[in-house]
């Protein structure tokens, strides 16, 4: 790859972000900032019960309140066949409840009023009569005959949703029978929530004068949402415009379509006025896409040298009341089968069962590729447990089993073809940075003094960039992505992509790709996303797919422009195309470098001096179907100290070595790592959305669902290795989610390592001081 100058700002340059200017002035345009003339407000009435029959809804008092324009119930929606809507995964979900409610906080009625406060007042006046039903919150009891059947709307009267398996069961079982050593771990990845700082919401604006519906939407996938609104709502797709303006964080939470959006659209269509609906934080935590809630068991079979021979996994997935998972259709458990990890062995078998419970529906991919965090956590915990069993150092065990660089592309026993990897190199760099050998010595000494210190390692492999059309689609739409680039006469450019940034810096990074491929300075390239009227169709931004798919499309589109530019350059320089050589920003004649034309010269010519037979203009669009996913990886090492008196775990040091192939903007990548590690820290130590036996949500606000502040968050020490992707035009892989994928295991492995000499093998997250203190008490370390 040819280097560009810092002024041009192509790949590898840490240029400052172009989008920052408006945000630091408070001039971002988030959905709640959208203010349209005649706009009204919506507020949802929600169920306090986890499972109950809806006996009656009395909206009279609410409707009578001055300023109230409408109160919509499930019955009203049912008349338009909209009381139910399809989920992104072969199920349907109630928009507003009819017949019964299935989780606490489920949407029951939608009030529309002239202002926010009146809408909230009116919601309090809606009188709903319920008849409580027995509640199911334990997924392990979902298939017990004594448990209530939740989904009366399904033909199959059962709480079991799906069974999925992959791998060779008999070969795996045989390997286990013949194994010299076996180790197993039961690890629960607790239900948590992405909690982006901006909650979900929309402004639905049906304009009677033009017949068009514009929806300002907190959406990570605006085109897919537009198509779904068209199909479900029966509105012509050319009359729907979805605009995702600035989004205050997504992390997967803004991928599904929520009842509030549908109600706002219905209200706007009915009233002919813009309807704004913005959820509160409590509503966000209690009803929108949760993540994880995977109850997993992993078994590893190994020989006496610690060479892994087989992996066997069984998982129970709690999907809540509706299967609103956002996964590619062929994968009910997402890409969970990446759970074989960074290790080379021939046999694996994995099965997952999904069940319904009286909890909020989902689950979405929270800052991970679909279900990859669960998978990475499981294998990295299992390897540590195996290391404990064999009494081998966990680093040593990993190194014995790493897939070697010459094995790539590597076919995993569960069917994935890893594009490239050098796991040992990342491990080596991490070990050196953290001073591993010294730390182990220090741990020995501290143990003699009764002090608790632990070192946790996580060598994860991610699978991102969904995905090739032959295997991947969401709700039937293939998972290609797109880029459209247009160069103006004065050599500046505008691009639009089918993805949608929620803070990942696309306005800068895509411009840098164009800068790399065309030599136009990134500062001269405007990048737009999120308006379905102008951007080419794409599947959006989540699961770290933007750089792998849309980034590739950008490179390919730029390549098409370069090819036309070559023709124009040949025309201007009066030579043949073969005589020309390219360096970023210009074509020059081989052997006569002073005979050259810059891309700016060429752009101008494209409108003023067009060669015969060529169209005017200088632009291209590309829809990229990736040949494979990309497999970023890394090694994280975490050092913790445990306070015996309080059970508090302090993260003393955290070294993160990531490999995402060729990097576009190192500063932006580092920022992503910092953010993802902080989310991983929160999950490992402080977060859980729990339900009591009556289905009352226990993690329903920031009082209980804890977000780390700057005080709890440690310093993150980041570094990189670079193993490019052989199939990506830029050699790049995705990276935004690696830190959330790889870090939970690093944190948990560190805590367990601190207590392993006491016989502790596993502690489930969140590892609160209370949990640790109880373990210490149980082991007689404290009384």
């Amino acid at each position: 790859m040819q280097q560009t100058t810092p002024e041009v700002g192509g790949m590898g340059h840490s240029i400052k972000r172009k989008e920052d200017l408006r945000f630091i002035q408070g001039k971002g345009n988030y959905v709640d900032d959208v203010h349209l003339p005649d706009m009204v407000y919506g507020h949802l009435v929600r169920s306090p019960y986890a499972h109950a029959r809806l006996k009656s809804i009395n909206t009279e008092r609410a409707k009578a309140l001055p300023g109230v324009l409408a109160v919509i119930t499930g019955e009203d929606l049912a008349k338009a066949n909209l009381a139910w809507m399809p989920t992104l995964y072969f199920d349907k979900q109630m928009v507003l409840a009819t017949g019964k409610v299935l989780f606490q906080s489920q949407e029951v009625a939608f009030v529309v009023a002239e202002d926010r406060y009146t809408a909230a007042d009116a919601a309090e006046l809606v009188e709903v009569e319920y008849e409580e039903l027995p509640v199911l919150v334990d997924p392990h009891k979902a298939t017990d005959p004594s448990s209530p059947i939740l989904r009366e709307d399904r033909e199959e009267k059962s709480n079991h949703i799906f069974h999925w398996e992959v791998g060779d069961k008999s070969a795996t079982d045989k390997a286990f029978q013949n194994a010299a050593v076996k180790a197993d771990v039961h690890a629960v990845f607790q239900r948590c929530h992405p909690a982006p700082l901006e909650t979900c919401g929309c402004v639905a604006d049906f304009n009677r004068a033009t017949g068009r519906l514009t929806i300002y939407l907190t959406s990570q996938a605006p085109h897919a949402h537009r198509t779904l609104f068209a199909l479900v709502g029966g509105i012509a797709e050319n009359n729907i415009r979805v605009i995702s303006p600035d989004i205050g964080g997504g992390f997967g939470n803004k991928v599904p379509i929520y009842p509030g959006y549908v109600c706002a659209v219905v209200a706007s269509l009915t009233l002919g006025r813009p309807v704004k609906w913005i959820e509160t934080r409590s509503e966000n935590l209690q009803s929108t896409g949760f993540a994880r809630d995977y109850h997993m068991t992993a078994e590893l079979a190994a020989d006496s040298d610690g060479k892994i021979q087989a992996l066997r996994v069984k998982t129970l997935a709690d999907h809540g009341a509706f299967n609103a998972a956002a996964q590619p259709t062929k994968f009910p458990a997402g890409l969970f089968s990446i759970c074989t990890g960074a290790y080379d062995y021939p046999n694996a078998f994995c099965e997952v069962d999904g069940v319904y419970t009286n909890k909020a529906p989902g689950g979405i991919a929270y800052r991970c590729s679909f279900r990859v965090t669960e998978a990475a956590y499981l294998i990295e915990r299992a390897v540590d447990v195996l290391a404990q069993e064999l009494k081998i150092d966990p680093v040593e065990l990993r190194q014995r089993n790493f897939i070697r660089p010459d094995r790539f592309p590597y076919k995993s026993p569960l069917g994935w073809s890893f594009d490239s990897g050098n796991y040992q190199a990342a491990m080596d760099l991490a070990l050196q940075k953290v001073g591993y050998a010294e730390l182990r010595k220090q741990q020995e000494e501290k143990r003699k003094k009764g002090e608790l210190m632990g070192i946790g390692v996580s060598s994860f492999v991610e699978i991102v960039g969904a995905g090739p059309a032959h295997t991947f689609d969401i709700a039937g739409i293939k998972m290609f992505d797109s880029a459209e680039i247009r160069v103006h006469p004065t050599g500046k450019a505008i691009c639009r992509m089918g993805t949608k940034s929620q803070g990942q810096g696309h306005e800068t990074t895509y411009a840098q790709i164009v800068a790399q491929e065309l030599g136009i300075p990134a500062a001269d390239v405007t990048v737009e996303e999120g308006d379905t009227d102008t951007a080419p169709y794409g599947l959006g931004t989540y699961a770290s797919r933007s750089t792998p798919v849309s980034g590739a499309a950008t490179a390919v589109a730029a390549g098409k422009i370069r090819e036309k530019a070559r023709k124009i350059a040949a025309h201007l320089l009066e030579c043949s195309e073969e005589d020309l050589e390219w360096e970023p920003g210009k074509f020059f004649v081989k052997g006569a470098p002073s005979k050259s034309k810059t891309i700016q010269d060429i752009a101008f010519a494209a409108y003023t001096n067009i060669p015969e037979g060529l169209e005017a203009g200088l632009e291209a669009v590309d829809y990229y179907d990736p040949p494979n996913l990309t497999f970023p990886f890394g090694t994280y090492i975490c050092v913790v100290d445990i306070d015996k008196g309080t059970g508090e775990v302090k993260v003393r040091r955290f070294v993160a070595v990531d490999d995402c192939g060729n990097v576009i903007n190192p500063m932006i990548v580092d920022g992503q790592i910092h953010g993802g590690l902080t989310e991983g820290l929160a999950i490992a130590f402080m977060q859980q959305i729990d339900y009591d036996e009556n289905g009352n949500v226990q993690g329903g606000s920031f009082m209980d669902y804890l977000i780390p502040t700057a005080v709890e968050t440690p310093h993150w020490d980041t570094d990189k290795t670079c193993t490019p992707s052989p199939h990506h035009p830029l050699g790049a892989k995705g990276v935004g989610e690696s830190p959330n994928v790889g870090s939970p295991a690093a944190f948990v492995n560190a805590v367990v390592d601190a207590l392993s000499h006491l016989g502790v093998r596993h502690i489930d997250m969140p590892i609160t001081p209370w949990k640790v203190w109880n373990v210490l008490k149980e082991k007689g370390v404290v009384s």
């Binding site: 306090p48 006046l125 009569e129 319920y130 409590s282 209690q286 008196g645 009556n694 289905g695 009352n696």
Partner: protein, 209 residues
């Protein structure tokens, strides 16, 4: 959200007098702040309501109280109350066992063991507060109970064979004042805060390794 609350208090009244009030749900209800018996369905079943205001939010529960067990010999009563929020924001259920015991010096000990189950919004935001609110409510209840006891001394004792018609009426039921947020929530908050401060103090004064 299930809570178990055990409370004991003493009154300097003979056990039979105390029993005459404890065994009458209408009288007991009149002592519970914000509660009211509205209808007697039969000997064992009553309809009633209770209004609880915590901060700015008022929850009006409407429901039923049932006497599950009445043991005159041992002065034990077991009642069950179930109510739904009239605005559909949740429900609450409670089983309470009330026991009397005679102590020296003409003192009667009243022990109540209650299991309270709350479903709905209060059980999320208010779960910490529910225990404290129950404590404060119980303290008010025991004060009212004692007041009622002292008043009834001036009334002629109830003849055991009296029919419902001649039962001395309970003090005229006032429309129940919703429990004041100022008093209950503030008291509850103060109690919670003083507990936390005590816990914090002991944490810092204690030694950690």
């Amino acid at each position: 959200m299930a809570l178990r609350i055990e409370k004991t208090f003493q009154v300097s009244q003979p056990i039979e007098k105390v029993w005459s009030i404890l065994s009458d749900p209408a009288k007991v209800a009149s002592c519970v702040p914000g509660a009211q018996i509205t209808e007697k369905v039969d000997d064992k079943t009553y309809k009633g309501s209770i209004s609880v205001k915590v901060g700015p939010s008022v929850t009006d529960y409407k429901g039923e109280v049932q006497i599950l067990r009445l043991d005159e010999q041992n002065h034990e009563i077991e009642i069950q109350g179930k109510g739904q929020d009239v605005r559909g924001r949740g429900s609450a259920a409670m089983t309470m066992t009330g026991k009397l015991a005679m102590l020296d010096g003409g003192i009667t000990q009243v022990t109540s063991i209650s299991e309270v189950n709350v479903v709905g919004i209060l059980a999320q935001m208010g779960s910490r507060v529910i225990t404290e609110v129950s404590n404060v409510m119980f303290n008010q209840f025991s004060q009212n109970f004692q007041k009622l006891l002292n008043q009834s001394i001036d009334q002629p004792p109830v003849a055991n064979s009296a029919t419902a018609a001649t039962v001395v009426p309970a003090p005229v039921p006032q429309p129940p004042e919703p429990i004041e947020p100022g008093s209950i929530a503030w008291q509850a908050f103060k109690q919670m805060l003083s507990r936390w401060l005590r816990a914090l103090k002991s944490m810092f004064s204690g030694q950690s390794a």
